[in-house]
């Protein structure tokens, strides 16, 4: 077993897409609660002490999201209290709470995904779909740094010959526009030279393939297959109507049956997988370190 970071980007992406989609689409409170807790756990496991700021931010979002719904929606039969002759209902509060848990868990999943995937891993996945577009993307990331450097250089030389001043806002804008315009010309001209040398080395002579140092190993395959199977199970149970919840006019959960139980269990299993792998690998590492 390897850490999530070291797994093949494709299986990591498949996992996060599955879990995020389920978190967005299944609104059974058991699933949203599990999603919130487990996504929070994963983010904490990945980031450690650095995660505290994000937790605070998401807590604020959670409160806002919970309170928006009772303010704008007055459906529901159980009136809690009246504000300016408009009722605030229990049902709309519960709906807001459930929606907030779902949304915040999506935030956590997305943040964990960003913590695991960097641009190189993303380009690896993108290259599987379209090698040529991935080439364009990686070229443009390279050109971004070149353009930044050239921008600074051009600005300095323009200042030296008196074409760039930042005394007032008009001068600042005009100067930056002049620099930007010159950088565009430079980049296009430079790009043509690059393109010609790429063509001279055989770019475009056959179909492009994407290269990546990442190998797809057995563990990646198992992880991906498990993610797909568990989410398919959860979707199937949802299709049977066992994960249904209606809020208006009264909060009604679908009667608990085998399908509902399987659906919730498979979601929990799916969501707990990455944190379990991360923790397992960490423990193993610590144990083997203490043996040394």
């Amino acid at each position: 077993m390897r850490r999530i970071r070291d797994m093949h980007p494709l299986s990591v992406t498949v996992f996060f897409v599955c879990v995020t989609m389920l978190a967005m689409s299944v609104s059974h409170p058991a699933v949203t609660a599990a999603s919130l807790v487990l996504s929070m756990l994963l983010f904490t496991v990945l980031k450690g002490a650095k995660s505290i700021r994000t937790h605070i931010l998401i807590l604020i979002f959670f409160i806002i999201f919970t309170l928006i719904n009772p303010v704008i929606s007055h459906k529901g039969s159980t009136v809690l209290f009246m504000v300016n002759d408009t009722p605030v209902t229990l049902e709309s509060l519960l709906y807001g709470l459930n929606a907030a848990a779902g949304l915040c868990s999506v935030f956590y999943w997305v943040f964990s995904f960003s913590a695991v995937m960097d641009s190189e891993r993303m380009l690896c996945v993108f290259g599987l779909i379209s090698p040529r577009a991935a080439l364009v993307a990686s070229c443009s990331i390279r050109y971004l740094t070149l353009i930044k450097a050239q921008y600074r250089r051009t600005k300095l030389s323009m200042r030296a010959i008196g074409l760039y001043t930042d005394g007032n806002i008009i001068d600042l804008i005009r100067g930056n526009m002049r620099v930007f315009s010159s950088v565009i010309g430079w980049a296009l001209e430079n790009g043509i030279a690059t393109a010609d040398s790429m063509a001279a080395r055989g770019c475009g002579s056959t179909k492009r393939t994407a290269f990546s140092v990442k190998k797809f190993r057995l563990g990646d395959g198992i992880f991906m297959a498990a993610a797909l199977m568990l989410s398919a199970l959860c979707v199937a149970c949802s299709a049977l109507g066992s994960l249904k919840i209606t809020f208006y006019p009264k909060t009604v959960l679908a009667p608990a049956d085998a399908a509902g139980f399987i659906g919730i269990a498979s979601f929990i299993l799916l969501a707990v997988m990455p944190s379990a792998i991360e923790t397992g690998v960490k423990l193993k590492w610590r144990r083997s370190m203490s043996e040394v």
């Binding site: 949304l103 641009s119 993307a137």
Partner: protein
Amino acid sequence: MAATRLRFKEVLKYIAVLAFIPAIAAAGSLVFDEQRHILVSLAVAAAALGVFFLGYEKKQVGTRRLVVTAIMTSLCLFGRFIPVIKPVAALVILTGVYLGCETGFLTGALTALISNFWFGQGPWTAFMMLALGLVGFFSGALSKVLIKNRPLLIVFGAVCGAAYSMIMDVWTVLWYAKGFSPKLYLAAVGTSIPYLLSYCVSNVVFLVILSKPVGDKLMRVKIKYGV
């Protein structure tokens, strides 16, 4: 013969897309307990992007055009780091107008994809990619009119800014309520008016300033190097 086969393939492609989207919509409303517009719209966005990228893979594209696309993308990326008024959409529009639909779409979509490495990836990336890509696509489609008529280009830029903001408001509503509700949409449009204005203003400002120098440069590259 070859031409008819090509056309047949094109027709097949459109039929596949047109059949695919209702199929996703139907599946989305059948499988989940409510009408999950959010899943359906994400699937549609992903499908549209997938169709484009697969088609792009099949096409003959010269290396020079490839690199020029990369450069326009990185200029847009560079522009996204400027605070408040951003030349991103203006540059995408100019790319579309001077280099065609496909390059415009690719530049817009890749700009959204790559810049979100810094601004935060998420399910919204697919929506942003499609929205910005379509800005490039439509400016390419209207290129014949826009290339000659500068005032129209600027009006088009303002419209694109508003359209982009309103498409992203659809996302905001779907994100919060899962399903689409007109009331929430109006509220979202209302709260995002500052953004809408900032998009419109920055598009207009940058198209006024940039359309001549950037247009000239792209035209020159196009004529001199045959991109």
